[in-house]
C-alpha cells in the first residue's frame, strides 16, 4: 500500500512540475509556411526554426505551402492534430481577413500561439515621380495621369480602393505575387503606387522609393515625420503581424511552451531571428500570445468584415 501511495505521490509530483515548460515534441515538428520561398515570412520562419533547434533541441521541418494569403496552408493545417507536431507560420491577415474569401477556413479554426514581428506598412511611390504625399497623388490623378496600384492581396487592394475613394480619384489595380512582386512592379514602372510591409526598406534608403504615408496606426520607423492614413482622415490600419498558429483545440500547456520557446529567442539580443526582425521590421520583435492574441484576431476579423461591407455599399 505504501508503495502504491509513494508511486502516486511521485506521479503527482512529476505531473505537477510538468507545467508549461515540460511539453516536448514527439519527433520532428512540421512548420508549414503560408508564403513562398525567399519572402520575408519564409526567411523569418526558417531562421526561427533553426534557432528553436539550437535552443530546445526540437527538430523542425519547414515546408512552403503558398497561396491565397496563407489560406492554402491554413486549410491544410486545420485538419491536423493540435498536438504541437504541426505548426503554421503566416501573418495575421491570413486569419483576420482571408477567411472572408475562403469556404475552407474561419478564424475559429485555429489556436493562435504567438506573434513574432509587426509590419511597417507604407504607401510607396517611385522617388522619380516627384510625389511626396497623397495630395500629390490626388493632384496627378486630377491632371489626367492613369494610376496603377500594386497589391499583393485582397485586403490591401480593398485598402487602396478605400484611399482612392476618400481622395475622390480612380486607381486601377495590379495584383502581384507577394510583397516583393509589388515592389518590383512599382520599380519596373508597371505601377505608380505600391504597398510595402517592410521589405521596402533598402529601396527607400537608396532613394529609389518614397514613403507617401504610413498605413499603420503609428508613424513608421523609417519615415517618422510622414503622417498615418488616420491622421489624414482615412480610417484605415493595414498593419499586420507575423504569427505562429496551430489547429484549434491545442492544450494551453503545449501552446504556452511553444510561445515561451519562441519568446526566449526573440528576447535574446544575440539571436539571428531578432537581428533580422530589428532590421526588416523595426524597431523590435512584437510578442503577443495566448488569449489576448486570440481576442485581437477575432476582433480584427469583425472590423475587416465591416470595412468590406462599407466598401461594397
Amino acid at each position: 500500500m505504501k508503495k502504491v501511495l509513494a508511486a502516486a505521490a511521485m506521479l503527482a509530483l512529476s505531473t505537477g512540475s510538468a507545467f508549461a515548460a515540460d511539453w516536448k515534441p514527439d519527433g520532428p515538428i512540421r512548420l508549414w509556411i503560408g508564403y513562398g520561398a525567399g519572402g520575408g515570412t519564409d526567411v523569418q520562419a526558417r531562421m526561427l526554426a533553426k534557432e528553436l533547434e539550437q535552443t530546445r533541441g526540437w527538430i523542425l521541418v519547414p515546408e512552403n505551402k503558398s497561396g491565397e494569403d496563407g489560406a492554402v496552408m491554413s486549410a491544410q493545417l486545420k485538419n491536423e492534430a493540435p498536438d504541437g507536431q504541426t505548426l503554421g507560420f503566416a501573418i495575421t491577415t491570413t486569419y483576420n481577413f482571408a477567411p472572408m474569401n475562403s469556404d475552407n477556413i474561419s478564424p475559429e479554426d485555429f489556436t493562435y500561439i504567438t506573434t513574432t514581428a509587426g509590419s511597417q506598412m507604407a504607401v510607396l511611390a517611385r522617388t522619380s515621380s516627384g510625389w511626396k504625399s497623397l495630395d500629390d497623388v490626388k493632384a496627378a490623378a486630377e491632371a489626367g495621369e492613369t494610376l496603377v496600384w500594386a497589391n499583393w492581396g485582397t485586403q490591401v487592394e480593398a485598402g487602396a480602393e478605400v484611399i482612392a475613394r476618400k481622395l475622390g480619384i480612380t486607381v486601377n489595380h495590379l495584383r502581384t505575387a507577394g510583397g516583393k512582386g509589388a515592389l518590383n512592379a512599382v520599380v519596373a514602372e508597371d505601377a505608380n503606387l505600391s504597398w510595402g510591409g517592410g521589405v521596402q526598406r533598402p529601396l527607400v534608403e537608396a532613394g529609389e522609393l518614397t514613403i507617401l504615408s504610413s498605413a499603420e496606426s503609428t508613424h513608421l520607423v523609417q519615415a517618422p515625420d510622414t503622417p498615418t492614413l488616420k491622421e489624414q482622415g482615412i480610417d484605415l490600419d493595414l498593419g499586420y503581424k507575423y504569427i505562429i498558429v496551430a489547429p484549434k483545440g491545442m492544450s494551453d500547456e503545449v501552446r504556452d511552451t511553444i510561445a515561451e520557446a519562441v519568446a526566449e529567442i526573440l528576447n535574446n539580443p544575440e539571436s539571428e531571428t531578432r537581428k533580422f526582425i530589428e532590421k526588416q521590421y523595426p524597431p523590435a520583435p512584437v510578442i503577443e500570445t495566448g488569449d489576448a492574441l486570440r481576442k485581437t484576431i477575432i476582433d480584427g476579423y469583425a472590423a475587416n468584415v465591416e470595412m468590406m461591407k462599407a466598401l461594397v455599399e
Binding site: 497561396g67 491565397e68 475552407n104 489595380h173 495590379l174 508597371d190 534608403e205
Partner: protein, 532 residues
C-alpha cells in the same frame, strides 16, 4: 560605368566569400563537381544533360537548403553539369558511333570515321577544344547581351507587350520544335492547362484542385518536371529494353587512340570555330530551336564553305569542329532569354529557372539588371541590387566552369572510354530510385510521388505520340507568369477589353503569333494531304 565594374567586382566576390565575409570555395567546388559529373553523364548513352540536371536539382536543394546562400552553389553545379554534358556526349559518338547525348549525334558523322582511321585521340581532343571554345564564345556574348537586352526590354516593354512576348515565344517554340508543330502547340496548351491548378491571383480562392487541399499551392513543380522528363524516359527505355532483350549487342572494342592534337592544328581551327560558335550562339538565343538544329546548320555551312567538301562524313576534323563548337555555343546563348526575360529556351534553361524559383528570393527577369547605386546606410548595411550581384556571381561561375572544362575536362574525357559500356538495365533502375526519392523528399511525400507518377504517364504518352515534351514543360512553367501579366495588364488598364491591342509592339507580336499558328495548321494539312 564605374557602377557596372563595382557590381562585377561584388559578383566575383560573392563567389569566393559567403554572406558573413568568410572565404568559401563551395560554389567553385560545386562547379567542378558539376563539370566532372556532367561529362560522365554525357558519356553514358541514354543519359543527357537535362537528365543530370533533373536528378541533381532535388539532391542539391536537400543538401544546401532554400536560403539565398544556397543559390550560388546550386546554380554552379547545374551550370557545370550543363557544360560538362555537352562535352562528354562526344566521346562515345567518336569511339563507338553511339552519341552520348542527342547534341552529339552529328559528331558521329566525322568523329567515328576519324577514330576508325586511328585518330581517336585527335578526334576527342578536337571535339573538346571546339566545344570549350564555342561555349566560352557564347558565354561572352551572354555576359554582354543579357544586361543590354534586359535594360532595353524594361524600357520599351510594358505589361501588355510582355504578355504578348510570352505568347509569341510559346508559339515560336511550338513551331520550331520537332516535326509536328501542331502537336507541339497542343502539348504546350496541355502544359498550360495543368499549371492552372491551385492558387490564382484573383483572391477568389483556389481552382481545379478536385477538392484536394494538397493541390492548393498548385502542382508541385519539381515532381511534375521529373515525371515528364525523367520518369517517362525510364518508362520508354524499359519498354524498349523488354522488346530488344535478346538483341543486346556488345559494344565494339575501343579503337586505336593515335597521336594527340598539336597546337598548330588548334590554331588553324580557330576561324572555323568562330564561325560555328556564332551560328550556335544565334540559334541558341532563340527559344526552342536547340542544339541539334545549330549543329546541323553549322555542319552544312562548314561543308559548303570547305575547300574539300568531299571529306565531310569520311572523318575530317572540320566536321567535328563544326558540330561541337555550334552545339556547345547554344548553352550560353540560351541563357540570354532566360536571364533577361525569364523565358526558357531549352531543357537546361528550364532547370535553371526551376532552381531559382525554388531557392531564395532571386528570380530571372529584366529587373535583375537594374544598376541601383551602391550605398552604405547606418544601422542597415549596404544598399544595392542584390539580384545583379547574383547575376554577376553566376557569370563568374560560368567562367570558372569554362576554365575547369579547359583544364580538367580533357583529362576526364580520357576515362570515359568505359562509361559507354554501362548497360541501360543498370542505369535505369538507379535513375528511377533517385528520381522517386527526390520527388518524395522535395514535394511533401506522397503528394510529390503521385504528381511524378501522373506526369510520367503524360510524358510517356507525349513521347509515344512522337511529340517533343519541350513545349509541354515550357507551357507548364510559363503559364503562371503569363497569367499574372495578362491579369495585371487587364486590371491596370482599368478593365479595358482591348488591353492587349492598345500598343503597336503588342499588336505586331500577337500578329506574328497568329501567323505562326496559321502556318502550323496549313503545314499540318499539307502533311496530312500528302500522306493520304
Amino acid at each position: 560605368m564605374e557602377l557596372a565594374f563595382q557590381y562585377i567586382g561584388l559578383g566575383i566576390h560573392s563567389v569566393f566569400f559567403d554572406a558573413d565575409g568568410q572565404f568559401w570555395l563551395m560554389p567553385v567546388l560545386m562547379v567542378l563537381t558539376g563539370i566532372i559529373s556532367g561529362i560522365f553523364f554525357g558519356a553514358i548513352p541514354g543519359l543527357s544533360g537535362p537528365f543530370a540536371l533533373a536528378l541533381a536539382l532535388p539532391v542539391l536543394t536537400s543538401v544546401f537548403g532554400y536560403s539565398n546562400e544556397a543559390l550560388l552553389p546550386v546554380l554552379g553545379c547545374l551550370v557545370g553539369l550543363m557544360k560538362g554534358a555537352t562535352v562528354g556526349g562526344a566521346v562515345p559518338a567518336i569511339l563507338f558511333n553511339t552519341p552520348g547525348t542527342p547534341d552529339a549525334f552529328l559528331t558521329t558523322a566525322d568523329g567515328y570515321p576519324m577514330a576508325q582511321k586511328g585518330q581517336a585521340r585527335k578526334a576527342i581532343q578536337t571535339s573538346h577544344f571546339a566545344s570549350v571554345m564555342g561555349d566560352s564564345f557564347s558565354d561572352i556574348v551572354l555576359f554582354v547581351a543579357a544586361p543590354v537586352f534586359a535594360v532595353a526590354v524594361e524600357r520599351v516593354l510594358d505589361l501588355p507587350e510582355k504578355s504578348a512576348l510570352i505568347i509569341l515565344s510559346l508559339c515560336f517554340m511550338a513551331a520550331v520544335v520537332g516535326n509536328a508543330p501542331l502537336k507541339g502547340l497542343l502539348g504546350g496548351l496541355l502544359g498550360m492547362l495543368l499549371s492552372l491548378v491551385g492558387t490564382t491571383l484573383s483572391g477568389n480562392g483556389v481552382r481545379l484542385t478536385l477538392g484536394l487541399d494538397g493541390l492548393g499551392s498548385g502542382v508541385p513543380l519539381t515532381s511534375a518536371v521529373l515525371g515528364v522528363l525523367v520518369l517517362s524516359e525510364v518508362l520508354i527505355s524499359v519498354e524498349d529494353m523488354s522488346r530488344a532483350r535478346k538483341a543486346r549487342e556488345s559494344l565494339p572494342q575501343t579503337p586505336e587512340m593515335g597521336p594527340p592534337l598539336t597546337w598548330a592544328e588548334r590554331l588553324r581551327m580557330m576561324p572555323a570555330i568562330l564561325r560555328s560558335a556564332s551560328i550556335g550562339t544565334v540559334i541558341g538565343a532563340l527559344p526552342g530551336i536547340g542544339t541539334t538544329t545549330a549543329a546541323t546548320l553549322s555542319y552544312d555551312t562548314a561543308k559548303r564553305l570547305s575547300k574539300k567538301p568531299d571529306e565531310f562524313g569520311k572523318g575530317t576534323p572540320e566536321g567535328v569542329v563544326a558540330t561541337e563548337a555550334a552545339n556547345s555555343a547554344v548553352s550560353g546563348a540560351n541563357l540570354i532569354p532566360v536571364m533577361s526575360l525569364g523565358i526558357p529556351g531549352n531543357f537546361a534553361a528550364v532547370f535553371l529557372i526551376l532552381a531559382v524559383e525554388t531557392i531564395g528570393d532571386f528570380s530571372f527577369g529584366p529587373s535583375v539588371f537594374k544598376f541601383t547605386e551602391i550605398k552604405e546606410i547606418d544601422g542597415y548595411g549596404m544598399i544595392m541590387n542584390k539580384d545583379l550581384v547574383m547575376a554577376f556571381g553566376l557569370f563568374t561561375l560560368m567562367v570558372m566552369g569554362n576554365i575547369f572544362n579547359w583544364t580538367f575536362g580533357g583529362f576526364v574525357m580520357r576515362f570515359l572510354v568505359h562509361m559507354a559500356r554501362i548497360p541501360k538495365d543498370i542505369v535505369m533502375p538507379l535513375i528511377l530510385l533517385v528520381s522517386l526519392t527526390a520527388a518524395y523528399v522535395q514535394d511533401g511525400g506522397y503528394r510529390g510521388l503521385g504528381t511524378a507518377l501522373v506526369f510520367a504517364v503524360i510524358g510517356y504518352l507525349i513521347r509515344r505520340l512522337q511529340v517533343s515534351t519541350l513545349p509541354f514543360v515550357i507551357g507548364f512553367l510559363l503559364a503562371p507568369a503569363l497569367e499574372q501579366l495578362i491579369r495585371g495588364a487587364f486590371t491596370a488598364s482599368g478593365g479595358d477589353a482591348l488591353f492587349l491591342l492598345k500598343s503597336p509592339i503588342a499588336v505586331i507580336m500577337l500578329g506574328l503569333s497568329g501567323f505562326l499558328i496559321v502556318r502550323m495548321v496549313l503545314q499540318g494539312r499539307q502533311k496530312a494531304a500528302s500522306q493520304s
